[in-house]
Amino acid sequence: MDDQASTAPQHPIITFDAQPDGYKHWRMEIDGRIATLTLDVDEKAGIRTGYELKLNSYDLGVDIELHDAVQRLRFEHPEVGAVVITSAKDRVFSAGANIPMLAAARHADKVNFCKFTNETRNAIEEATSLSSQAYVCMINGTAAGGGYELALACADIVLVDDGSSAVSLPEVPLLAVLPGTGGLTRIVDKRRVRRDRADFFCTTGEGLRGQRALRWKLVDALAPRTRLAEVARTRAESMAANSDRPISGEGMQLTQLDRVISSEEVRYPNLAVAIDRTARTATFLLQGPDSPPPGSPEEMMACGDRFWALAVARELDDAVLHLRFNEPDIGTWVFRTTGEVPLVAAHDDFLLENSQHWLVREITLFLRRTLKRIDVSSRSLIALIEPGSCFSGTLLELALAADRSFMLTGTFEGSNLPPAVIRPTRMNFGPLPICTGLSRIETRFLGDAAALEVLQEHIGRDLIAEEAEELGLVTFAPDDIDWTDEVRLAIEERAAFSPDALTGMEASLRFPGPETVESKIFARLSAWQNWIFQRPNAVGSGGALELYGSGKQPDFDRGRV
């Protein structure tokens, strides 16, 4: 029930498709075990009009290509053990996110952009720590703001020692916003820069150079201009030498997604997302595998990127990004599945049994990243577990990620499908953690080791609704008489609440337990940044972001809040 249905998106649709031979801003080169990603931003090729991407500054388009490159290096290049990120511009590494672009962007676009760039930087760190594909940043010139934050996501930072090139986080003094792409968190939490030094560093617009940057642990090594490439290469090679990735062999080509977008639906081979603009709801219907998993990793390689677990991860990931950027008014995502519980569980077993294989590992990590994307999406998540569904293992994670889940007790009248079951697998107990490092089940039963133990005894068992409710794996288990109304009312009620309050509430309830760099970036840092993005001191007519480049000085409201 609502008087105002949302309308189809106004802007041209943003897609996340990219291909290395079509990159406008990056170059990818592979040389043995070392890949080099070179940033060479085309000033005139912003994803939107109205700004120029000077000094290797980036916008969403630049970052979509980076995201694609990071992804392809993992899947298509098993032999790459280390990646060097650098710039093609003379004496400029990157000036960070483009300021005129940010100043002109709507609040929601800023937030979405930051979240996506954060996710890509997290993926870079994950590649280093879990894919054995380490990132080295070769800073050949000024690295300011988001430019240095990209370096901070790398495992190793080499700075040119030319007496002028500095790393800096000038957001506070110059723009009255924060280094929100992980900068503040990573310098103290990851690089262990002393917090008083970090305070100084973050307020000095020009940043730090040379020895001082090294001594303060802002970089890991210095190199003269003439030897910079060589030093970076050497460091990359020693990292690659420690990589457990295969030295040679075929990669997994990620082909163009088979996707049809209309105003009512986004359809992929294994996923259909139906959009109800009146209810402001998107219903994801995921298709389980239609056959048993391959007998070996080699057989899996032969399937190409149509292998179910990989295909479903790609499609789900793409759909989540599509809805985030292009359907901001669709505030509730409903997850449904269809297929055979045993086949999903068998795929989980296949992934777990072959977890030493580089591609199996990549696929599992990709599933993990995709589910994390869902966790940090500012949408209400509801899972509907009905007869014919296949919420097992990896797909059960969707129900565990949801803010609320409903599982039908019994069957629908007139249907000959047996009652729905869910089947936990080992995949639910560790390989797919949320950003706090805990599994979704651990998070659900935080601090209750006894409950976890009981649940572990149910691995591999089919649980009907009453059991699932009893075990705490679903929120409600209405029968078919109550089902329609309970679900309808839950969704309608959700759609009526303030989206802002819901986002705040959901983000606060989804991540109980310990903090990690990642969780701090998504919670603390992003929340502060998004608050500042709303404040007149940044975005008011006299705010620093608005006046940037005009020569006028901002007129701050001096009151502390």
Binding site: M1, D2, D3, E413, F476, P478, I481, D482, D485, E486, R488, L489, A490, I491, E492, E493, R494, A495, A496, F497
Partner: protein, 471 residues
Amino acid sequence: MQANYNETIPNNVDLGDDRRLLRALERWQPAYLQWWNEMGPAESSKFRVYLRTAISVDSDGWAHFDHVRMPDYRWGIFLARPEANRVIGFGDHKGLPAWTEVPGEYRTELRRLIVTQGDTEPASVEQQRQLGRTAPSLYDLRNLYQVNVEEGRHLWAMVYLLHAHFGRDGREEAEALLERHAGDPDRPRILQAFNERTDDWLSFFMFTYFQDRDGKFQLAALSESGFDPLSRTCRFMLTEEAHHMFVGETGLMRVVQRTCELMREFDTDDVRAVGGVPLPMLQKWINFHYSICLDLFGSERSTNAANYFGMGLKGRYQEDKRDDDHRLVDTQLEIPRVSAGGIETQIISARAGMNLMLRRDFTLDSQRGLDRFNKVIGAHDIDFELTLPDEKFNRSIGIFSEIEASPSGGLLDAESWERSKDCWLPTEEERDFVRSLMVPVTDPGKIAGWIAPPKRGIHGQPFDYEYVLFR
């Protein structure tokens, strides 16, 4: 069990085909009967009472008379006939089609409205549980039971809405309606007036005059609701509520009549000695019941009430007869305000003043009956006038709860109030006196001495008809 539901529960909601309702009722109906037997009219299960049963919403179906045992009474589920193309008549959704299903965003508010209304229905049955022992006539005993079974049916009506539209929450709320009890210190009824004792017949007539009139206005406001099932349910309930007020008004009229007769016959103002209720004592009962009923309307300024109106859930009395935009977004309302210097006025949004508006309609309506009582008094050449006390008198809820005032509205300090309140409210001694008048009269055609017989009987039957068969 399912097969005969349509027969034992008269209804126009296709009960026999509704699995959801049948399932809910399977649990609820036995619990309801148990409640009736434990908390309903005391020692009455063997009596056969000349009751009106609604068996359909047609003009000839809503009043079917017969002697029945109350536990076998056919509590039915009736909604007034649907109006074709009904639209929401007020609030932010004015002009849109009325909802036939609960709108998700208003689920909580609607449930609260229905539960609050529903809670009053069994409460009054509980409050009146002991009255059957002291009825002044068979006619009155029958009226008491008629009111009781209809309050029971009103509970069914609200429970129907909870069962049909609110899923598991609704079923739980329906059970809770039977678990709270009037005056129970641990699980009291929601509204305080429904925890007061109604243990004498004067109080019963006051109750059916005032409290049931509050019920009428609440139901009228809910019958404007944009949630069509609630509207239709309340419209049908209003036809029954009218009978309750008839019992109250004619009951009080007959007490006034008898008192005046005794005053004339014995030429005395104090009819206590001759077994009557003196007029000043009646005034005290009015003071008490009217003032606690004003509290039932809630605070003069209420965000909840404003929300209910804006959401289209609860309107004003006779919304469609009002000449305004029915949205009241910018309309203002003057309401009283207590200040150091006395009572002043303040301006608030009209939406926030919904409770006060409904209460003012209630006051006008309450006064009309008093005018008729005063005519009877005047016809006996007695110089006395029954009046409604001022809205500031004896209040526990709203603006005036923090001050004390006399029935004429004069402000009092706490000390003066303590000193004077026994002059205006029933004292324990007076209550004892009224209780002493309450001797049961069970012979057909006979009546207790403190009340006059009715002008006519029920459904064309004479006064001396055997309205209740004790065998």
